[in-house]
Assembly symmetry: D2
Homo-oligomer: 343 residues x 4
Amino acid sequence: MTKRVGILNVTGYAGAELARILYAHPGADLVAVTGRSAAGKRLAEVFPHLWAMDMPVDDALPGVLDIVFSALPHAAAAEQLLPVIESGATVIDLSADFRLKRVEEYEQAYKVTHPAPHLLQRAVFGLPELHREELASCDLIAVPGCHSTGVILALAPLCAAGVIERDVIADTKTGLSGAGRALNLNVHFSEADENVAPYGLDGHRHLAEMTQELGLLAEAPQPAVTFVPHYIPMARGILSTCYARTRPGALSGGRAQIMDMYREFYRDAPFVRVSDAAPGTKHVMGTNYCVVHPSVDLRTGAVVVASALDNLGKGAAGAAVQCMNVRLGLPETAGLQSLALFP
Amino acid sequence: MTKRVGILNVTGYAGAELARILYAHPGADLVAVTGRSAAGKRLAEVFPHLWAMDMPVDDALPGVLDIVFSALPHAAAAEQLLPVIESGATVIDLSADFRLKRVEEYEQAYKVTHPAPHLLQRAVFGLPELHREELASCDLIAVPGCHSTGVILALAPLCAAGVIERDVIADTKTGLSGAGRALNLNVHFSEADENVAPYGLDGHRHLAEMTQELGLLAEAPQPAVTFVPHYIPMARGILSTCYARTRPGALSGGRAQIMDMYREFYRDAPFVRVSDAAPGTKHVMGTNYCVVHPSVDLRTGAVVVASALDNLGKGAAGAAVQCMNVRLGLPETAGLQSLALFP
Amino acid sequence: MTKRVGILNVTGYAGAELARILYAHPGADLVAVTGRSAAGKRLAEVFPHLWAMDMPVDDALPGVLDIVFSALPHAAAAEQLLPVIESGATVIDLSADFRLKRVEEYEQAYKVTHPAPHLLQRAVFGLPELHREELASCDLIAVPGCHSTGVILALAPLCAAGVIERDVIADTKTGLSGAGRALNLNVHFSEADENVAPYGLDGHRHLAEMTQELGLLAEAPQPAVTFVPHYIPMARGILSTCYARTRPGALSGGRAQIMDMYREFYRDAPFVRVSDAAPGTKHVMGTNYCVVHPSVDLRTGAVVVASALDNLGKGAAGAAVQCMNVRLGLPETAGLQSLALFP
Amino acid sequence: MTKRVGILNVTGYAGAELARILYAHPGADLVAVTGRSAAGKRLAEVFPHLWAMDMPVDDALPGVLDIVFSALPHAAAAEQLLPVIESGATVIDLSADFRLKRVEEYEQAYKVTHPAPHLLQRAVFGLPELHREELASCDLIAVPGCHSTGVILALAPLCAAGVIERDVIADTKTGLSGAGRALNLNVHFSEADENVAPYGLDGHRHLAEMTQELGLLAEAPQPAVTFVPHYIPMARGILSTCYARTRPGALSGGRAQIMDMYREFYRDAPFVRVSDAAPGTKHVMGTNYCVVHPSVDLRTGAVVVASALDNLGKGAAGAAVQCMNVRLGLPETAGLQSLALFP
C-alpha cells in the first residue's frame, strides 16, 4: 500500500526536486504541498517542469500523513514540526534544525535560539550509510547539509579506521543551486558565470555537523576539520576534495589497502560507489549516488579523497527519499534508481 | 513479456541516452550493444554514468532481437541495416538514411550515393504526432533530426490548416551535444563557451526533411523553408523559433483561435504540450516533451511559433523509444514519463 | 587637452563598462560618477574589478563638464538631463528616452509620459555609421539599444539599396548582462544556465527604434520588422540573425554583389567588419566591433544577414564612447582599439 | 625606441594572448610570429579575434630581434631556443623547460631527457615578485606554470616569514583554457560543461616548481606541498586555495598581522593586490593582476590563503610581458594596465 506523503515549502529547489522524485516513486503518493509565498497557486505555475503533476500549493498540510518532508528554512522548521510529529507522521527535515546534538553548537552557528531543543536527542542524522538502523524506527530525521554529506562520506572510512591524523581539510566546489532560489547578486547570472570564489571563510555552518559525525566515528581525539566551500559556475553538483595525513605506520599497504578499506566500509551502501578513477559531478547529475575516490601517497603520507554528488540529489532530496525508504521498510533504492543525465 | 532490444553504435550521445532510457523501461530489455572503436570495452568504461547497467560493448548484435536501434552515422546505417530487418527485427534508425522519400534529395544533401534506396518507401518517418498509424505496423523507422522535430511540431498545425503563406523561417538554437561526441574545435570548451554563432548558412541537411513533412501536410504549393541553426553554450536543448505570415483573412480570431487550433491538432499527442507562455529548454531537459507556443500579431499578420525540446530526448533517443512503444503496442509514454531535471 | 567627463548612474553594467573604457582613453578624464543606491561608497566597493580607478560615487556631478554620459533608466534620464545640457555639457544618454522622434511611439512602448518631448528633435541617434555628421555638432546623443544596433547594422545596406521586400524578421540571441544588474528570477544563475528562451513576444521596446532608423534609409513603404529576442546562457554578446526577401530582379549578382554592397556601405566605418564567414560573439567580446555577414540564396530569394557584437561594447558603452569621439573631433577609434578577449 | 619582438608558436592560447597584449604595448613591436601547423596562413585565419593585427604565420623568426617569446611545448622549447639566445635575443619561454634548477626533477616530471641542461643555471624563474633583480639582466626567462604562480604568490610571504609548518595543501580550480587548444574529450564542451573534477592525482608537473620556489624562500626544512588541480566549467581563471598551519606562537596577531605581512611583502609588486575580501577570478579576467586574500583562524591555527588570477594573463602571457618590461627597463606595468572585463 502506498504511503501518503506531503511536502512543507515546496517552493525551493530541494522541495521541487522532492516532488520530481516522488512523482515516480512506487511506494509513496505525494498528496499535498505547501509554500509560503506561492500558496493559492498551482505547482506548475511555480515550477513549469512539474506540469505533469499539477496540484495546488496549499497553506497547510492535511492532518493524516505517513511522511512529511520539510524544506522550511532553519528555525522555522523546528517551530512548525512539533505538531506534525505529534500527528503521527514521520518528519524528514531538510533544514539544519535537528542535525546537531548540542544546542550550543546550533545556536552559535545559526545565531538564533533553538525553538525546540528537546527534540534534538530524538532526531536521527539522515545518513543511512552511518545510521541505517536508527533511521528505521525514528520519527524525526535530519537530512545532512549537502557539503556535509560529501565530506563525511569521503572521510568516514578513514576516521572509523583511525588511520589519519587529527587535522583534516575539506575543500568543496558547489554548483549554484546550492545557494537556493532566493535572489542574490552572487548568484546573478552575469556575476556568477565564469567565476570561482571561496566563501564562508569565517566559518561555514556545515562545519559543526561534519565534525560531529566524523567525531562519532573516530576514537578520541576528535577530528579538527578546516572547511572551505567554493562557488563554481554550474547549476548542480558538489565535488569535495578532502586532505588528511596518515598516522605513522598506517596505510602502509598504499592504494590497494585504502581501496579495500573503502569498499568494505561501503559494502552495504547502495548509493556510494567507490571508484578507482577521479570522479566528476556530471556523472552523478540527477541521481542519488555519491562517487568516492580515495588515494594515498606513501612517500609523503598525504591522503586525498575526492567525492562527487548531486547537491539536490544525494545532497538533499534524494537523501531524504532514501531515508524515507529506510524508515518505511521499502527497498532502500526505491524511486532512486535513475542514472545520471549525461551529457 | 518484455521485448529484446539492441543498440548499434552506443558510443555517441544518442546511443548513451537510449541506453539510459531503456534501463528504466518497463517493456524492453536491452540485451546487447555495439560500438566501433569501443568494442571489447565495458559500457561503463565508455560512459561512467551508465555504471549500474554495465555490459560489454560488442562487435555485433545477436541474431534474434525484437527491436534494433541504430545510432550509426548516415550511409553506414543504410548499409548495415538490411540484414537486421531481414532477421525479423524492427529497425529504428536515428541516422538520416531513411527520412527522405526521394533519393535525389538525400544524395544532394549528404553527398553520398544511397546504399539502399529500395528501402526508402518502406521506411516510416518516426514522428508519431504525424504518422502514428503507419508506425504501428512498419519494420523500418527513421527518427527525425533534432532540428526537424522542433520545426515540424511548431509549424504542422499551421500547414495542415492552410492558414499561412508559403515562405517560412526556422531559426533554431541548439545545445552542443547536438554536434555529437566527435572532437572538433567549434565544440572545444574554451571556444564554444560564451559564444553564439550561426552555422550551415549554405544549407543544413535537415532542411529537406522539414520541407518534406510540412509539405505532406500542406496543400500545394509546398512550403519554402529558410532554416538557420545556431550553436549556443549549453549541452542540451533546442529552441526553434518559426516565423510565417497569415494568409489574407486567416487567423482573424487571433490568439484564441491559434491556441485552439494547436490544442486540437495535438489533442492525442501525449508529448506535445501547447503552452500559453514562452517555452524554455530547461523545462524539458532530460524528457521526451516538446513545448509549443504559438502566437499571432493580427496587426501585422506575423505568426511566431516557438518550440522547446531536448535534442537527445524528443530530438533523438526519446523519440526513438516513443516510436518503439507505438510499434510494440505499448502505452506510448512507457519509460518516458520522467519530468525535467530542474534546475 | 583631455576633456572632463562624468557618468550619471555608474552602478549598472553599462556604467561600469563606460568607466572601464574611459580609464584607458587618451582624450578623456573621468572626473566624477554618480549612483543612486551606491552614493557614498567608493567605486571599487561597487565593482571590485575597477579597483585601480578608485573614486567616490557621488550624489551629483560637478557643474562644469565637457561630456556627461547618462546610464539612468528611461524617464529618469529625460527628467534629469535638461539642466545638464543647459550647463553646456554634451549629453550622451544610454536610455531610450531620446531615441525615437515621435513622442507617441515612445509613450506607447514605455508606458510613461515623456518628461521632455521638446528635446526629441534636438537629439541625434547615436549610431555614427548612419549619423556621423549630425553627431559631430549636437549636444544630445541617444545611444541605440543593443538589439537595435545589431539589427540596424545588419539590414541598413539592404534598406538603403532598396533591394528587399517590406517584411523583415530579426531574431536576436543575447547574453544576460543585457538584462542588467537588477535581480530577477529569469537571470538567477540556476534558472538561466543551460536555458534558452524567447521573450518579449508581445512586442519588445527596441522594435520602434529599429523601424525608425531602417525606415529613414528605405524608400517608402517603410520596413515592417518582426523582432524576437532570446536569452541564452552567457554573460556578453548579441548575435542578430535577420531574414528578408529580395525584390524581383534584385541581387541577381548573388554573393559577390551583396558582399560588395556591404563593403561599400561600411567603407568608412572603422567598427563594422564585413566578413565572409559566419560571425560568433566570442570574437568581439570586450570590443566595440560589429561583424556583419550577409548572404543570399538566389534560388529562393532569401537573404540572411547575421551580425555579432558585444552588448556592453558596441551595444552600449563602446558606442557611447565612439559617439563622444565623433562629437569631440577625436579619432573615432580613440580608446576603443583593444582586441577581443579570447578565449 | 620600441623593441622588436617575435613569438614562436603563436597558435595556442598563450601565444594568441601574447599577440593581443603586444598589439597595445607602447614599447614593443610584434614583427613576426611562427606556428607549426599554421605556417603559411594569416594570423587572423587562425584567430579571427586578432583580425586587426593581421600578419603572416611564418616558419621561422627573422634573425635580429630583441625579445623572443616561446610558446613551444616542453622539450621542443629547449631544443630550439639555444640558437635564438646566441643570436642576441632575450628569450622568454612559457614552457616548463627552464623552470627547474635540477635536471633530475625535470626529467622525472616530464619523462623526457632534457635537451639543454647546461642552460638551466642561466635561466631565471619569471616571477618578478621574487626575482625582479635577476630578471633585469638575464637572457633566458622561464615563465612559471599558471598553477604555480597562484600557489607561490599565495604562500610566499608565509614561507619567507617562517611562520607555518612544513606541510601545505594547494587546491586549485582552473578554467579550461589552461588545458590548451588541443582537442581532448575532457574539454569537449558537452563533457566539461556542468562538471567539476580533480585531475593529476598521481602528481601534477607543476608541483616541482612550486616546491623549488617556496623552498628558496623558506628556511630548512623545505615545504612539502600536496597539490590537486581541478577543472571547472569556465574558460579563464585560476583560484588557488592554500592551507597551512601556523608554527606554535606564530601569527598570534591574527588577521591584522597576516594582512600586514602580506602587504609588506608585496609592497613593490604592482600586480599583486592583497585584499581583505575573498577573491573571485572574474574580477581579474583579462588582466595581469593576482588578488591574494590571507586568513588565519587563531583558535585552530589554520591558515587559508586564496589567490585569483587569469591563467592566460598573470598565469602565462601577462607574466611574460611583465618579465619583458623588467628585462628592458620599461615600467613594469607597460601594456598591462587594462582592467578586468566584467561581467
